[in-house]
Symmetry: C2
């Protein structure tokens, strides 16, 4: 166990150095809400979410391995797409991003603006994995998986690493959980900092596959893409590597779920009291804190991003 | 001139130490918008605006002077009210705040929640100075003026002082201007840091008294409270002390004005691209930057606060 953690922590340390000049060291914030609360606002990260931490680590690691791939490829309708596009452009590699047809046009435009080729035509939630394999085979591009990839996990781990550098005495860290990239990285950084730091994953009740996976002890898969305000965590199952870190090695203590009302309320509190323009996914850990679902103590929340659909925000704020 | 500045800078240094344990050292942020831009987001300050810097310095200075006043009094419908209420409660003094009848009920509630007595009945924009004199005479409370007060000016100066500690090479600093408390403090910190730093005040076209004061060389007063989205700068004239710093001693280089459309656009950019939930007043300096009205160079913007009316936010976002 100690060796497992030590080996991953060393990779996180390397990731931290590798990505340093390409990502932002986001600040740690205190609030008027609760003196025990510390926030890691990854909405201020490059591209507006934590995703470039993992994407840059994955893309830069390809080069260190002595490869010069023909390009990189990713499937994403959201923040991972922009992160991979930026990382690829930075090192001068072509990037191909497959984005489902029904994705938010603003995010598609942002991904194209970062220089990536985007294919949307005929891409659906159901066929995207198949299309991905075809494009990889045809072009010889390397996949940057959004969560089931060690380099991505070690990159995402740098957020909690920075938080704990700033606030070494935290008792609890809460982070959202979709595919588990951020949460498994957070767990590595937290448990290597101090075994007693409780690591809590937060997901919407409507997308509770990680909760059920934790309870069952094996990966559980949702029947289809869930409907939730927190559109960044609509993944149907966590990855095998994420499972290994989070549950097989028990580096995550608990998964808690929050309702859609609790997510909406947390987003409103973020906007009105914390003055952070978060996307609903970015407010998941805050939702768990506000609804009393996190353990007591000095608590750090990883607020994953800020790329909100502005119409959704207008509706949420207008009905408060 | 050098002596004038040196004497004020020494007061700012003392203010910085005096208020340290009561206010937050807000971070300096970089953005994806422009590599030359640095932001000082005072929306993350205690109570959601820069105002406690000045209020705490004023209230704590009363005690150092050996006085134990019976209480403090202020007139404000906004952020200064909460700041004075908090500073008074912290040192155990009663606070009386006069708030015009038509003020935002949420801000009135926030001021009461901080322990202040609030009088609203019969208070109007026209009679509030008169009512203030009456209450001061009757109760023997000490006034904390929102801007025309040296302790308040020296307290507000600590925001730019911190920004320049973090970013010593700035060429330009932009700050909003209402009564001139923040802007005159900013000018003291900037010009003492390096004479070549350009200090630019930003106000709405609809409330351009500081602009006209700068042009005329004497204090110009608006005929009535102006109508602008930026409700934090509806003051009709800057104060005599603020005039002295800003224009008589020429520590402010220029006043620029922005239109209501430019303010609305800047607020939307803050929310959607910077992920900062600013109030429109807090977006004034950003509006000047985005519309190309600031000098070129490495630019720091003081974003004064985040206490937005959420209905206004919903409306602005819904019409973007």
């Amino acid at each position: 166990m100690r060796e497992y953690l030590a080996q991953h922590v060393e990779q996180v340390r390397l990731a931290s150095g590798r990505i340093r000049e390409h990502v932002r060291r986001t600040p740690t914030l205190t609030t008027d809400l609760d003196p025990n609360l510390r926030l890691k606002p990854e909405c201020f990260q490059v591209t507006g979410s934590f995703k470039p931490r993992g994407a840059f680590n994955a893309v830069l690691s390809l080069f260190e391995a002595g490869e010069r791939p023909k390009g990189v490829i990713a499937v994403s309708s959201g923040n991972h797409a922009q992160a991979v596009a930026l990382a690829a452009a930075t090192v001068g590699l072509p990037a191909l991003i497959l984005i489902p047809e029904d994705a938010n046009p603003a995010k598609v435009a942002a991904t194209r603006a970062l220089g990536a080729e985007v294919i949307q035509e005929g891409i659906t939630f159901a066929n995207r994995e198949q299309r991905l394999r075809e494009e990889m085979a045809e072009r010889g591009f390397v996949l940057v998986h959004p969560f089931n990839d060690w380099n991505v996990i070690h990159g995402q781990a740098t957020a909690a690493r920075e938080l704990l550098e700033d606030e070494p005495d935290l008792d609890v860290i809460g982070a959202p959980c979709g595919g588990g990239g951020l949460l498994s990285g957070t767990a590595i950084s937290a448990k290597s900092h101090r075994a007693g730091v409780k690591v809590i994953g937060v997901e919407p009740e409507a997308a509770d596959d990680a909760y059920r996976t934790w309870k069952a002890g094996s990966i559980q898969t949702l029947p289809g893409s869930p409907k939730t305000l927190a559109d960044g965590v609509r993944t149907t199952a966590i990855g095998a590597r994420n499972f290994e870190v989070m549950f097989a090695n028990r580096l995550v203590d608990e998964i808690v779920t929050v309702t859609e009302d609790e997510i909406a309320n947390a987003a409103r509190v973020a906007w009105s009291r914390l003055h952070l323009a978060l996307e609903p996914t970015g407010a998941l850990a805050l939702a768990a804190h506000l609804s009393g679902k996190l353990p007591k103590g000095r608590t750090g929340l990883i607020l994953s991003g800020g790329n909100a659909n502005l119409q959704t925000v207008a509706t949420l704020l207008g009905t408060s």
